[in-house]
């Protein structure tokens, strides 16, 4: 019995990193940012869609949601195509100064939650 308890404890401890499933802890959620800009590049792709937008003074790489979710919530690929102007609300990456992940996006006249 003792051996089973030891084994179970070991597994629990070793699997702790797996519990962090998409906690997005690498983004600083204490400082929400609102950025508006023109889309320079976009990918409606797995595992996460992404856009590069040109905001005043800075170009951001913005991580969006999986395309299946974006489609589900009514954010069509055309709305984030190159040349569109979009507004994202999100959080900056703690290490990559150019990167943020979007909590929501306003594109094509409509605001879509991405989480």
């Amino acid at each position: 019995m003792k051996a089973y308890v030891r084994a179970a404890t070991l597994f629990t401890l070793m699997s702790l990193p797996a519990l962090a499933h998409h906690g997005w802890s690498e983004y600083d959620a204490t400082k929400p940012l609102t950025v508006t800009g023109k889309v320079l590049e976009s990918g409606y792709e797995h595992p996460h869609g992404h856009i590069r937008i040109e905001a005043p003074g800075k170009t951001w790489h913005v991580v969006l949601a999986p395309p299946s979710r974006m489609e589900n919530r009514g954010l069509a690929p055309a709305a984030i195509q190159k040349g569109q102007t979009v507004t994202v609300v999100g959080y900056a990456n703690r290490e990559k100064a150019e990167e943020m992940r979007a909590e929501r996006i306003t594109a094509g006249g409509k605001t879509v939650e991405l989480r």
Binding site: A3, Y4, A7, F11, M14, S15, P17, A18, A20, H21, H22, E26, G43, Y44, E45, H46, P47, P66, P67, S68, E71
Partner: protein
Amino acid sequence: MNPAGSIEALAVAKAMRENLWLYPAVEIVHILGFVLLVGSVVMFDLRVLGLSKQVSVRALARHLLPWSFAALVLIVPTGMLMFAAHAGDFISNRAFQVKMALLVAAGLNMVAFHTGPYQGVASWDTRASAPAWARVSVALSIAIWVAMIACGRLLAYL
């Protein structure tokens, strides 16, 4: 184009990125596969470590190990599909590099176990302790597989 770029340019890699449900479906099959693989391997390893000694090691091996191998049919192709979608990112990702090294280590450890201590299994099949080198090998196996799962998950964070 570099090799990673030419993998990403494959039609199947493009489909993985752009098809709405292919990527998650492939992930599900990959998870199902490694649940089966790691589950069966770890159950065997725990037996060799000395748990449930009334169960015959050879009978357990006959029951579990074919499932471990069958699981590879689910895991390997799906892993390759996910790799293809973002080959360049994977290759440069430290968690992926460690994961692949662990995969090789797991394979070598398995070969060492089956060509080494397992050859003498008749003498420790039931109600007996496995030799120390068998126990070291299976303990290593558990550690490697747990670490491999951790690396797989950490891929998304590094």
